[in-house]
């Protein structure tokens, strides 16, 4: 079987159905008894797979394993000692010992992968903390960031006053953007800035698309909704492969945000029927499904910088 698609097949058909998963586990059990090994061990021994794939498979195995539940908890939430404990227990439970001799090569692979996975788990905490930092108008740093966003998107156009209807031109609801960040806090603002900074032309292009006569939508508000969407994807484990293959960092997370924004813009204007802002939530829901499908199929993540006319 082509290894590049084995994990995709597992994601699409095995892990997604509780019945088929049960069957699969029975097969694994039998195989394990016959060969005195475990799926985890076999993956770590597989020399044909790249480390990314191995790490991803390990993540899935840990998540769906009934026997390794405690160990997984320790990995997710625990200290360094607890991680080591969990590691030892996994080695024992999953046949990494051959007559009390440790299979060092495979064990090292496992440890390496676990450390990489730990980064992806920690990213969730880091981002949640950021999202919980509410935008504060009295915080000069926050205010500076807000002005930076304005300048990035509007260039030379001067803002008449801190509270002005002009904010609506970049898609905030009223005269003071502070109230729009809500549950996404400073994370929402930082992602908008990242997009406007690193893909300035594209961001400006999408901003102008959002001013469509009939199918207009609010740029900044949509951005904040996309931040929320991305956090959901992260928590629902859809971003694992992406983070493992790219880097489990905030920058990686922000790059994906840029991808989401451009994809959304294309998705919005390519609807079979013309849409208005009132269709937003409906379209957003379909958009989420499409993104999840792309992620499951491990489609390449490319930020579309082509300036399409709508």
């Amino acid at each position: 079987m082509n290894n590049i698609t084995e994990d995709i097949i597992l994601d699409k058909y095995v892990y997604s159905s509780s019945f088929i998963l049960k069957v699969y586990k029975i097969i694994k059990y039998v195989l394990g008894k016959l060969s005195n090994s475990s799926e985890l061990l076999r993956i770590c021994q597989n020399e044909k797979l790249r480390e990314t794939k191995i790490t991803y498979r390990i993540d899935q195995i840990l998540f769906y394993s009934d026997k390794l539940k405690t160990e997984r908890m320790k990995l997710l939430n625990g200290t360094k000692e607890q991680l080591e404990e969990a590691y030892e227990q996994i080695l024992r439970k999953k046949k990494f010992y051959d007559n009390n001799t440790e299979k060092t090569a495979e064990a090292k692979v496992l440890m390496k992968c676990i450390l990489r996975l730990k980064e992806t788990y920690e990213l969730q905490d880091i981002l949640t903390k950021k999202a919980n930092i509410a935008y504060d108008s009295n915080n000069q740093e926050h205010e500076d960031k807000l002005m930076e966003l304005w300048t990035l998107l509007k260039g030379d156009e001067k803002l008449n006053s801190r509270k002005s209807e002009q904010w609506q031109t970049i898609g905030f609801q009223g005269v003071d953007p502070a109230t729009d960040f809500r549950g996404m806090g400073i994370l929402g603002l930082e992602q908008l800035i990242y997009f406007a900074q690193n893909f300035n032309d594209t961001a400006k292009h999408i901003l102008s698309c959002s001013h469509h006569k009939y199918s207009w939508y609010s740029f900044a508000i949509t951005g904040i909704n996309l931040t929320a969407l991305e956090l959901d994807l992260l928590r629902e484990r859809h971003l694992q492969y992406y983070l493992i293959s790219h880097e489990a960092s905030i920058e990686s997370f922000n790059e994906f945000y840029c991808y989401l924004f451009t994809e959304f813009n294309n998705f919005w204007f390519k609807r079979p029927e013309p849409v208005t802002v009132m269709h937003f939530n409906e379209v957003f829901k379909s958009f989420k499904e499409k993104i999840i499908s792309n992620l499951t199929n491990q489609s390449p993540i490319i930020v579309d910088t082509e300036k399409k006319k709508y």
Partner: protein, 287 residues
């Protein structure tokens, strides 16, 4: 602006199109401290089974059938902070139905003071007032004279605030009695309606005039408000223009300063396809 169909004035409160308004024209306002049973009474008049409505913090109106005539009832909240709205309904009402809770001494004391205050309002002059001594089901025996004195009704009459034939204290219970409305409620209402009819043309004229006056005042108030809103908007717009001019002035007098930096565009077309793979110590180099 909504034009009134009956008298042609602008926004006559009483004449908003509503099938509830097909009444004989009589409006009664039920007031009293909170939790005295006003809304429960309303439900009795609507002939439904509700015995524990939620506390009223607003206004409800129903036109109900009572002995072959239709009367419109206004029920408003009695909590201290909403009581202030009562005055707005005095002009339109033909008579007052005032509620007290006889099982609550504190209520009776407070009601005494409130009664004196409200009856002094010009808009309620010469209109009959029915005081329902409600919740008699909660006490052993209703002492009529005792309650009459506690409420200082004699004093109100002697002061000329009301007259002996325009005020009545009547016991009742707004709970269902044998699944029916307390017949004392009907008796009380009968009295009230009779008093209104005795003086019908005077009261109707008074209602008409007071309502017209109230409308005019209301419209004036709205116009004032509208003016304020317009002025505020103009001021804001002017402030924005001023600010813009000021800034232009500043930028004209400074020497060629650098335009605020926009972060340089890091890349033209960035793909996140490039995979950052960790150094492959253990495994052989990728295929």
């Amino acid at each position: 602006m909504v034009y009134c169909k009956c008298c042609g004035c602008i926004t006559c409160f009483r004449c908003f199109e509503s099938d509830k308004k097909k009444s004989d024209g009589i409006v009664f306002l039920t007031i009293g401290i909170n939790n005295t049973g006003k809304t429960t009474f309303l439900h009795r008049m609507m002939n439904d089974k509700v015995e524990e409505p939620t506390p009223t913090w607003g206004f409800t109106t129903e036109t109900v059938k009572f002995k072959k005539r239709n009367i419109t009832l206004y029920d408003v909240g009695g909590s201290p902070s909403i009581r202030g709205i009562w005055v707005n309904y005095y002009a339109e009402t033909y008579g007052i139905i005032f509620f007290i809770d006889v099982s609550d001494e504190e209520c009776i004391t407070q009601s005494k003071e409130i009664l004196e205050t409200i009856l002094k309002d010009e808009k309620l002059k010469d209109k009959p007032i029915l005081i329902f001594a409600n919740k008699v089901d909660k006490i052993e025996k209703f002492e009529y004279m005792e309650t009459y004195n506690k409420l200082n009704i004699e004093s109100l009459i002697s002061q000329g605030i009301t007259s002996v034939n325009k005020i009545l204290l009547y016991p009742c219970s707004s709970l269902l009695i044998n699944k029916e409305r307390d017949p004392r409620i009907d008796s009380g209402l009968e009295w009230l309606i009779t008093r209104v009819n005795d003086d019908r043309s005077y009261i109707e004229n008074k209602v008409k005039n007071d309502t017209k006056k109230q409308n005019r005042e209301f419209i004036l108030e709205q116009e004032e408000k509208q003016k304020r809103v317009e002025e505020y908007k103009k001021l804001r717009a002017q402030q924005e223009v001023d600010q813009k001019q000021q800034e232009q002035l500043v930028s004209n007098t400074t020497n060629n300063e650098e335009i605020p930096l926009i972060s340089k565009d890091k890349s033209k077309s960035r793909s996140v396809r490039s995979v950052k793979v960790y150094p492959e110590e253990i495994l052989p180099s990728p295929e």
